[in-house]
């Protein structure tokens, strides 16, 4: 009745996965896509500074009363003729969109078949590529109990190799502390932008703090929860001692049908709480099983959820 150890143990499967993060086919598929923020207007009022990309970026936004010192070139004479009031035209200047990708590299990510961490790496690489080719500033950070490594926001396709190398150098290990890592990242990256948090969100301390930090800084937060099929439907049986790779916690239990059902109920409740939390904070949320090919996740699901367009 009971499965062998090999059938039950899905930890540390990272080494079994191919190291290649992106392939040409994927790149060709996502070349047309761009990262979209629902919240952040892509640009800000810049009365005294001309935009670098005038043709597309100079768009009328609003009027305001003329004040002494305003550039007379922006006076709207038509309004003055109609209303007999001096109004200055306000333009929306497009600025680079900051795309922050935060990758969970705690020990719990090195689990499952397909491996969660490899899957997350690919997703992050894909999104980074989309951001780079659309001239967004793409910044990446990996974290476990704290923010481990960061890649300074870069722009342009030419930085792709930097991103790939950064991701490939990332390793799994340590406990998860979403709150500490995100606060640190938020402090280091004050500019508003789209924060894509790629994690399993399996943090005993909770995820509230982390998401609140970004939401408070008016970041456009996208929580992408990666779970393996073995977490969604554990193929476990028998008398087991479950080991937690992060805190070495040991839980002795006898797998029974009610226990499995209780676990699934608890998991669903946990995912529901996270989704609800994100929804209330204006953040977007998506759970993805590593069974789903990551190309489809990026091309179909993330587009459906409005993260890319």
């Amino acid at each position: 009745m009971s499965a062998g150890d090999g059938e039950q143990d899905f930890a540390g499967t990272l080494a079994q996965e191919p190291a290649e993060l992106l392939n040409q086919e994927f790149l060709s598929k996502v070349g047309r896509l761009d990262v979209v923020s629902r919240k952040i207007l892509q640009g800000r009022v810049k009365g005294e500074k001309r935009s670098k990309k005038r043709g597309r970026s100079v768009e009328f936004a609003d009027h305001r009363p003329y004040a002494a010192g305003d550039d007379l070139r922006f006076l709207d004479w038509n309004v003055y003729a109609r209303l007999d009031q001096l109004m200055v035209k306000l333009f929306m200047e497009e600025e680079d969109l900051h795309v922050y990708l935060l990758l969970d590299s705690s020990a719990s990510m090195d689990y499952g078949k397909p491996n969660k961490f490899r899957y997350a790496q690919k997703v992050v690489a894909g999104l980074a590529y989309i951001g780079l080719v659309n001239m967004n500033r793409v910044g990446i950070g990996t974290f476990s109990s704290a923010l481990d490594r960061t890649l300074r926001p870069e722009r342009g396709r030419r930085n792709l190799h930097k991103v790939i190398r950064f991701l490939q150098d990332a390793t799994c290990g340590g406990t998860t502390d979403l709150g500490a890592a995100c606060r640190r990242f938020a402090l280091e990256h004050p500019r508003r932008g789209v924060v894509i948090l790629v994690s399993d969100f399996l943090d005993r301390k909770g995820y509230d703090e982390a998401i609140r930090y970004f939401v408070a800084r008016r970041m456009d937060v996208f929580c992408l929860q990666i779970l393996s099929p073995q977490e969604l439907d554990p193929p476990l049986a028998g008398d087991l001692k479950l080991l937690d790779p992060e805190d070495d916690d040991q839980t002795e239990l006898t797998i029974s049908r009610p226990l499995l059902e209780a676990y699934k109920r608890r998991l669903n409740a946990y995912l529901g709480e996270l989704r609800e939390f994100c929804h209330r904070r204006g953040a977007r949320y998506l759970t993805a099983s590593t069974e789903l090919p990551f190309e489809r996740l990026v091309v179909d699901h993330l587009r459906l959820h409005g993260l890319v367009r």
């Binding site: 930890a11 399996l202 393996s228 479950l242 080991l243 790779p245 029974s256 226990l259 109920r265 608890r266």
Partner: protein, 644 residues
């Protein structure tokens, strides 16, 4: 319910304790790394909160295991009993030890039915519980109680192991009679087993109450058999040879040819073949065989030269003896009827002139030692003052025996009836005996009346220690001339009967050749104190002779063969040596095919069972099955994650 090995139940606490201790041992769990345990911990918490009885699941397993363990111990303790019947009734075994049980089934290397019966009965006894009582009754044509109702298995075993088969015919009635004496007045009726091959003769008159459970354990298989089913010897007259009649039965379905050999035992113990016959027997045929002419005298043995399953009826025994003349003395003033009648009897010794010895009553001296040489003395109208030892035939006057009284003359006595079974009255018609006058004697209670009239006994046998007399209360000469009984053919027959009976010759044929199980009645000479009987097996037993008894009765003829009897006086001196032969000679026994059912009167036929099933079921199988079911349930509870 009882336990044959209750020790296992006493060990139950130890086993149960060991099982519980096992539960306290730490389960060796397999280690599995998961991404995070905190959801699992919450799930366990949820489960505990939602189902407070969950921890009972383990206890349920323990409970089931304990129950299964107890059932297994119960099975080891070998419970026996009939479910629903707390008290077991007694068991009574009726064991057939008749001759046919010596038939051997299963070829030359097989075992006899008797041995199989012993094994089956032992097996049955082994299955009895501590409290169960059983009784053993052996039967052939009689029955013997081997043990009373007892719960001592060793006593039952010992009785069975000492039991030997006999050469007797079989009948169920004596066994049923003995069984009735064991039936309880209240309580459950005993379980009765009949161990037999079913060759029990007619069962038409055998009754056993319907509520008494009866089982018939059939022993034996259908076998072909050829056997001697009848032997008879006709002794010739004085100086003549004997003749032997033999009946041989083929009970098989095929014709058989075999030889029948007649051997004479010589004084040195060897045997001489006297005659041999070749027999052709059809199926189910009885063939008569006659041996005659000069067979000599002594012990003869008949042997059937045929190999079959039942050797006991392939041999028969007989004694050939010449008839000895009887010495008769007539004490009379003269009686032509008696004189002529005795002289005409070939068995009576006459003098050279062919005349019967006669003396006058005046010359009769009771102390004359020569009187002892006579086998019989006839006292005609004469009664001496006293009589010495001997056999007497009295007419008209009573012998001087104590308390035997003469009440005087009676007129016109009419014969009412007579005892036809008595040897003296055989083939005699007393109806023609007309008596104008007769004397009226008053026989004592121990005397045997043979002929009765309306005025009193006419003929009776009077016994008095070593004297014996046949007394006729009438005077032959006083009979009416017209139609006198003395001219009737019954008269010489009566005289011949009395002579042979009193002289000891009349018993000859019956006492020489007997069926097994019969009783030999041996006349004894005056002064006999005891008889020493040597059986065919060489065992010797002594019978005390009761004075006044007319014969020594030798019973218990269990084995076919020659029985020699020595009649001894009080000092141990040999008075007379005699012998007789006992034979099975029973057609019912020789038909050795076992009966398929017992059909007792007023009962449904009892079907045969091949072996003795124990009266109570061994219950360990049920306990084992229940334990198995519990183990499967426990396995299911464990694996199907059943929870309360």
């Amino acid at each position: 319910m009882e336990f044959l090995v209750p020790g296992w139940l006493f060990a139950a606490p130890a086993f149960a304790g060991a099982l519980v201790i096992l539960y306290f041992l730490k389960l060796k769990r397999r280690e599995v790394v998961v991404s995070s345990t905190f959801l699992w911990q919450q799930a366990i918490q949820d489960l505990r909160v939602n189902s407070p009885f969950q921890r009972l699941r383990k206890n349920l397993l323990l409970f089931l295991q304990l129950l299964a363990l107890l059932l297994m111990l119960l099975a080891l303790a070998r419970p026996v009993g009939e479910l629903g019947d707390a008290r077991q009734a007694d068991t009574i075994l009726l064991l057939d030890v008749s001759a046919s049980m010596q038939a051997k089934d299963g070829g030359p290397d097989g075992v006899t039915r008797f041995e199989r019966m012993r094994q089956e009965a032992l097996r049955l006894i082994d299955h009895l519980g501590y409290e169960d009582r059983a009784a053993l009754i052996a039967f052939a044509d009689e029955s013997w109680s081997l043990t009373p109702l007892t719960n001592s298995t060793s006593a039952l075993r010992a009785a069975l192991e000492q039991l030997e088969p006999t050469d007797r015919p079989s009948a169920l009635e004596p066994a049923i009679q003995r069984l009735r004496s064991l039936l309880p007045s209240d309580g459950p009726p005993p379980q009765v087993y009949v161990f037999s091959d079913g060759r029990l003769g007619s069962l038409a008159g055998v009754e056993l109450r319907k509520e008494i459970p009866l089982r018939y354990v059939r022993l034996g298989e259908r076998q072909d058999n050829v056997g001697i089913v009848g032997v008879d010897v006709r002794l010739g007259g004085v100086g003549e040879g004997s003749r032997m009649f033999v009946s041989v039965l083929n009970s098989g379905p095929e014709p058989v040819s075999c030889g029948l050999d007649l051997y004479l035992q010589l004084p040195d113990g060897s045997e001489e073949l006297l005659d041999s016959r070749e027999l052709e027997l059809d199926a189910d045929q009885i063939a008569p065989v006659l041996f005659e002419s000069d067979l000599g005298e002594g012990r003869v043995r008949l042997v059937l030269d045929h190999q079959d399953a039942f050797p006991a009826d392939d041999v028969a025994y007989a004694l050939l003896r010449p008839q000895e003349a009887l010495r008769v003395l007539l004490v009379s003033e003269g009686n032509l009827f008696l004189q002529r009648a005795f002289e005409a009897d070939p068995l009576v010794l006459k003098d050279a002139r062919g005349l019967l010895p006669r003396i006058d009553p005046a010359a009769f001296d009771p102390d004359d030692p020569r009187l002892l040489e006579y086998d019989m003395i006839v006292l005609d109208r004469f009664s001496p003052e006293r009589l010495g030892p001997g056999n007497y035939l009295c007419f008209g006057k009573a012998p001087p025996f104590p308390e035997l009284e003469d009440k005087g003359l009676v007129n016109d006595a009419r014969v009412l009836d007579w005892d036809e079974t008595h040897d003296v009255a055989r083939f005699v018609n007393f109806a023609t005996l007309l008596l104008p006058t007769a004397r009226r004697f008053t026989p004592r209670p121990k005397d045997t009346v043979i002929v009765r009239s309306d005025k009193g006994p006419l003929v009776f046998v009077a016994q008095d220690e070593d004297r014996q007399a046949v007394v006729c209360s009438f005077d032959l000469l006083s009979l009416p001339v017209e139609g006198a009984w003395t001219f009737d053919p019954s008269f010489p027959i009566f005289l011949a009967n009395a002579t042979r009976w009193l002289g000891g010759a009349g018993q000859t044929r019956r006492s020489l050749l007997l069926p097994t199980g019969g009783v030999a009645e041996l006349r004894f000479p005056p002064g006999t104190a005891r008889a020493q009987v040597t059986t065919p097996a060489g065992e010797t037993r002594t019978l005390e002779v009761v004075p006044g008894d007319d014969a020594v009765r030798v019973s218990g003829l269990g084995r076919a063969g020659f029985y020699s009897v020595e009649l001894l006086d009080g000092a141990g001196e040999l008075l007379r040596a005699t012998e007789f032969a006992a034979n099975l000679s029973d057609q019912e026994e020789s038909e050795v095919a076992p009966a398929e059912s017992l059909e007792l009167a007023e009962r449904d036929p009892v079907a045969a069972e091949a072996s003795a099933e124990a009266p109570r079921r061994d219950l360990w199988k049920w306990a084992t099955l229940a334990a198995l079911a519990l183990i499967m349930l426990e396995w299911w509870v464990y694996n199907r994650r059943v929870y309360l």
